[in-house]
Amino acid sequence: MTLAELKRGQQGIITDVSSVHIPLKLLEMGCLPGNLVELVQVAPFADPMYLNINGTHLAIRKETAIHIIIETAHE
C-alpha cells in the first residue's frame, strides 16, 4: 500500500520510494526504504499529512505521499 492510505496513529515500514517523483530533500530527511513511519495527524481531506519518519517530524502533501510505498506491521 502507499503512505497516503495510512490511518492516523498507524505505523508502517517504508519499502520503496519512487525516485522520479520524490524530491531528494525528502529522502535526505529520512524518507528511505527500511525506515519506520507513523501518521501523527492529518489535516482535513487527509492533506497534508503530519508524519513521524524515524524520529523526524514533518508534513508532506498527499500528492507526494502516494509515491511512497509502505508495509504495515500486521500484514
Binding site: V17, L24, E28, L32, A43, D47, H57, T64
Partner: protein, 699 residues
Amino acid sequence: MSKQINVALIGNPNTGKTSVFNALTGLNQKVGNYPGITVEKKEGICKLPRGVKAHIIDLPGTYSLNASSLDENVVIELLLNKNDKDYPDLAVVVSDVENLKRNLLLFTQIKDLKIPTILVINMSDRMAYKGISLDIDYLEQELKTKIALISTRKNKGINELKELITHYKELSTEPCLDASSIDESYFENLRKAFPNQLLYKLWLVITQDVNFGKTDRKTYDAVEDFKTKSKTDLKRLQQKETIKRYQFINETLKKGQTIDLNSAKDLRIKLDRILTHKVWGYLIFGAILLTIFQAIYDWSSIPMDFIDSSFASLSEWTKNTLPEGAFTNLLAEGIISGLGGIVIFIPQIAFLFLFISILEESGYMSRVVFLMDRIMRRFGLSGKSVVPLISGTACAIPAIMATRNIESWKERLITILVTPFTTCSARLPVYLIIIALVIPEGRILGLSYQALTLMLLYLIGFGAAVGSAWILNKILKIKSKSFFVVEMPNYKLPLFKNVALTVLEKTKAFVFGAGKIILAISIVLWFLASYGPGDNFNNADTIVTEQYASENLTEDELHQKIESHKLEHSFIGIAGHAIEPAIRPLGYDWKIGIAIVSSFAAREVFVGTLATIYSVGSDEEETIKNRMAGEVNPILGGPLFNFASGISLLLFYAFAMQCMSTLAVVKKETNSWKWPMYQLVIMSGFAYIVALVAYQVLK
C-alpha cells in the same frame, strides 16, 4: 596577531545556529523555533583565547548540500567557491541532539569537502528529558572530528567550543566514508579527467540543479561535458549516496547513542492532538488571532493616551519656552508633532511584535503552516506562505524575505506579490486614528466595535492577498514543480530573552526607520506650509482684514482667519488644491490629499503630516485626534472625518501600495522592476476605485 579565522556555522534548519552565533559574537540576530528564520548570510566577530579573532558567519539552515530552495543555496554557493572572501577555514556543523541522525547527513557531506570541521551538538539540556545519552569519545573517533556538546539556552559548553575553534588546525580533514563507492567506474573516470579537483566538489557541481545558483560556473564549465549520465541516473545515484551515508550514520549511532524511551517524555503528541486537530486546530487558531486584536486595543490604550497628551504639552512647552521665531515653530509644530504621531503607536506595535514573536518561538508557526496548506494551495500559495502573511502584519520587508524557503518559484513569486496587502504595522497608526474618529464606542459580546473593525481590516487585507493570489495563479504561466515539506519542530517554551530582544529590536527599527522619514518630511512640509508665493500669501493680513472689515470679529477670530488664509495660499496649499479634484470624489480635502501623497514614502507618515499641517497656524494645545475631529468639510459642512470618508480612507490604505522600501525589496527578490511596478500601479489603482465606491455609496 594572526589573521582572522573564517568560521561558517552550518547545519539543518532550526538546530540553533543563530543561537550559537549570538553566543559567540554577542550579537542579537533573530532566533525562532521555525525552520527558515535565517535566510541570508550574517557576520560577526568572536574573540577567542590568546587574542585570536574569528570571523563568524551565520548561514541559513540546509538539510544537505543539494539545495532545493533559495536560502539553502547560499550555503552551497559559499562552500563551492574557494575564492569567496568568506570561504571558511573551519566549518562548525551545528546539530540538534534530538535529531542527531538526520543532522549527521549534512555533516558527512561537509567532511567530504575536506574542510576542517567541528561538530556542535546543541540543546544538550534536552537530553535528560528525552532519555538520550552519548558516547562522545566514540563519536569523535568514528566521525573523525572534535565534538562540542553545548546548550545555548543554559549557556553551557560555549567556552569549550571557543577552545576547539582556536585549535582548528589540529582537526582531521579526512572524510567519514567513501561516497565514490556508489559508482566506482563513474567516479574513477571523473578522477582521471580532473586529477587536481576534489571529487566530491565535482560531484556536487554536476548534480546541482541549474535553476539555482550563480556559483562561479566558469571554473567548472568543463564539467558540463561530463554530464554523461541522464538526469534520472544522476538522481538515482544521489539516492544511493544518501542511503550509503545513512548506513554509516546508523552504524555509528548504534554504538555512540542510546535512547531510553521509557524516560523520554513527549509533550508534542498531546499538544498536537489538539492544536493540529481538524476542528479544534482551526478554532484555536481563530481564537488566538481574536485575542491578539482585542489585546492590541485594550491593553495599549492607557500608555497611548498618556503619550498623546505628553506630546501635545511638549509641543506647547517648546513654543512657550523658546524665543519666538521660525525655528521654534518648526520644532514645535513640525518635528514634535510629527514624531508624536509615531511614538504614540509604540505600545500597540510592541504588542503586535510580542505576539508574533511568541508564535514563532513556541513552534506553533509550523502547525499553522500544516493547518493552512490545503486551503492556501487552492489560491496558488503554499502553506509556507502563511508565515510571510502573518509576519507581514509586522512589516512586509522581512516577510517578503521570509518567502525564500518556499521551494516552488511560482508559489514564492505569488506570495511576494500579495504580501504587501497584509496589514503591516505602518498602516496601524492610520487605522487606529481613523477608527477612533468614525467608529462609535460600544461593545458586542465583550468585544469592542473598534477592535472588531480593526480585525475586519486585517481580514480584508488577508482576503485581498488571497484573492489576488488566486487571480495570479490563473494568469501567471510559470511552470515550476510544486513540492512541499515542512518540518514540525518540538514545542518550546518561548525564551523570555529571545522574545524581549525581538520586540525591542523591531520596535526600535520601526520608530527610528519611520522617525527619520517623518523628520525629513515634517521639515519639508512645514516649510512648504509656512511660506507661499505671491500677494495672497504675503499680504494675507490686509486681505483678510479688509474682507472681514464689516463683521465685528474679535482679535482671536481674525487671527485665526488670517492663518488659515495663509495656509490655503502657501506652497503646500497650492499643491493640495491642485490635486484636490482627484480626491474630492473620495470625500477628502486637500490636506488629506497631501497626507496621502506623502504616505507614498511610508504610510505611517499620514498622521504626522496631518499633525504638521494642522499645527501650522494654530496656537492651541490640542491632541492630534481632537484636531482631526474638529476639521470641517469645506464644501458640505459637518465633520470632515465622518463615517463615509473614514471608511473610504481606511479602504484606500488597506489596498494601496504605499511603501518605497517594500518596492525596493520586491525588486531585489524578484530581480526585476517589472513586479514592483505592477504592484504599485495595480494595488493603488484598485485602492482608488474601492475608496471612491465606498464614499459614494455611504455618503
